[in-house]
Subunit: 342 residues, 2 copies
DNA sequence: GCGTTGGTTGAAACCGGTTTCAGGAGATCA
DNA sequence: TGATCTCCTGAAACCGGTTTCAACCAACGC
């Protein structure tokens, strides 16, 4: 028993606890590792008291080293300023907490290089699994990573990359939007989307919109991206002749913000002059225009929780084939699509 | 030289690199640790190639163990669904990235117990420093923690707890708001705040409001918290007689949301019927009412960056006394406080 | 030719835990 | 009484790195 114990960097270590309790490191380790049935009642009690008295907290890094379990989950978020991402992250965090994991979040700022760097960093911290909201440009790295760790995609998938995916049922959501608009008397629709840069969810929504409009002869539909001089492009749509009342379908929260701002700028009143429905339901939707913006809410909390549960399932090895969960959106009708009385 | 090398858990280790390159672990360690001037040119080159060939990534956990440097920074956020917190976090992350740190974020969900648990967790992961947006109820734990790690508070301070603090100059911001409202002809002011539960920034804003109203005989001022039946309380304010035009001052983004919603509910038009100014500047402020909501924007990015820089200064030991940085707010005038023509 | 010096290198201890393995103390059985 | 079987425990190896320390080699000065 060595009597000289240097408290390293101020923190109590397992060796100090061991010698203070008059037992071996192994016993203390067994105690904190939950192998308590291996210990005699009296020993366990003595260790418990010593730990309490010294305020010992095991060093998770050291534990992870030998054990392979760091209890860390990594999450890669494309844009942390996007409320959708934060909401999903909140769900993931809730689930992590529930299962005793800690979440490490990295924000790529929609930057390819940062995505790469952060993937490497998370790996080097021995996260046990990854939840990825990817830009979709690093199939190689991701495939490589998937061989090492369980990995679940959120919202966005990737061409030629087999992995669990949790997100929205985009086709169904677009159908709900179009159906609702049509039912409310709109005939000339404009899908507003952030730039179609390869982000799969945006592509899917755009594609579903095109397909469904093409299949519906009574409707006309166009697609506008929010880059360039969006207001000017929007104005063109507003002045163009069409088959009937016009409505905008914003493909996500950002598009809703841009659309609403541009419509205001053009002096165009929501509902009175034009219909509006938006994917995502942000907390300010009820405050805008005449009675708020009609929304298709994503179950973000559920998406986050499910993503983590898929990950845990893989960690436990209880799954093999890539699985996909597409949640339905929930329609929340507000003033921007009130029944047209015309 | 041991020829049997089991690739542990699929990842390449320093020993494998060492034996593949025909050098010792020590040399490889020196190479990745940046002590390259200790190595002969040829050796360094050989190691570089081997690392590249094998795709070796050093395990940060293992490095941190002996070295004491994990290059991890912990951040405790009171409410991740609050855009203010996310914006600050974005600043912190930017700065972390710039200095080669990785950020671990924990959300306490405004829960005391979770705050405690997360503080313990972050500590057990050997973060090198902490940025804390605390609830303000755990002076004991925090003091204890401060003895072990550098720690910087964001937005919220704590009674009897000396630490670096980065946030808004609340007194000055309240002065800007009151001055602006008075200048625009408003005389009967209502400060709307989330519940004064001890959160220091809320208290400071409320206190500054009371003080400044008391010192200004031409103004009347009341304070309302957003709990209970807020709309009813707001209605009372609106119908009460006062010394002149009424205006609401929302003490943060949440209060702005609640206030705007209740005003709508009461059929009260912004600007025409009542003035509104809000602390924080959220992206939807321009879209509401007649010309948007006037805002006092916080420099959230700068707050986050500064918080991390203070932390790094402490990590380098180049600071002793607790320091405080109070940023000014920036007034952004919009429709909700247009000049009163009356 | 020999002691010094400085630049490189590897063996081994170490960080703070976990895990294997062997051994000692009782209890049970023949 | 001795053999066997549990149950509990500690020594030591190990995880993947870092760091100390001593040794080696070539060049240098005298």
């Amino acid at each position: 028993m060595n009597s000289i114990l240097l408290p390293s960097r101020g923190r109590v270590t397992i060796s100090e606890v061991a010698s203070a309790a008059g037992v071996s490191k192994a016993s203390v380790s067994r105690y904190i590792g939950g192998d308590r049935q291996l210990l005699a009642e009296a020993t366990a009690e003595r260790i418990a008291q010593t730990i309490e008295r010294l305020g010992f907290r095991p060093n998770q890094m050291a534990r992870g080293l030998k054990r392979g379990r760091t209890r860390l989950i990594g999450m890669l978020v494309a844009d942390i300023l996007n409320p959708y991402s934060v909401a999903v992250m909140h769900g993931v965090e809730t689930a992590c907490q529930r299962h005793g994991y800690t979440l490490v979040v990295c924000n790529t700022n929609r930057d390819d290089e940062q995505e790469c760097r952060h993937l490497a960093a998370l790996q080097s911290y021995n996260v046990e699994g990854l939840i990825v909201n990817t830009l979709g440009h690093h199939a190689g790295e991701l495939k490589d990573l998937q061989n090492r760790l369980p990995l679940v995609l959120v919202d966005r998938q990737m061409e030629g990359f087999e992995a669990d995916l949790v997100g929205l049922d985009n086709t169904q959501a677009v159908r709900q939007a179009i159906d609702h608009l049509q039912q409310r008397g709109y005939r000339d629709l404009l899908l507003v989307s952030e730039p179609l840069d390869g982000t799969s969810s945006r592509q899917e929504r755009a594609q579903a919109f095109r397909t469904q409009i093409a299949a519906n002869p009574s409707l006309k539909g166009r697609l506008l991206e929010t880059n360039g001089d969006f207001t000017a492009k929007l104005k063109t749509f507003l002045t163009e002749p069409g088959p009937g009342p016009k409505a905008v379908f914003a493909a996500n929260g950002m598009a809703a913000l841009t659309s609403t701002a541009s419509l205001r700028e053009l002096g165009c009143r929501l509902f009175e002059d034009i219909g509006l429905i938006a994917l995502d339901d942000l907390d300010w939707y009820p405050l805008v225009g005449n009675g708020g913006i009609t929304a298709l809410a994503q179950p973000t909390e559920a998406i986050g929780i499910t993503a983590l549960e898929y990950l845990l399932a893989r960690l436990n090895g209880s799954r093999s084939a890539a699985q996909r969960m597409a949640f339905p959106a929930e329609l929340r009708i507000r003033g921007s699509t009130q029944p047209r009385i015309s």
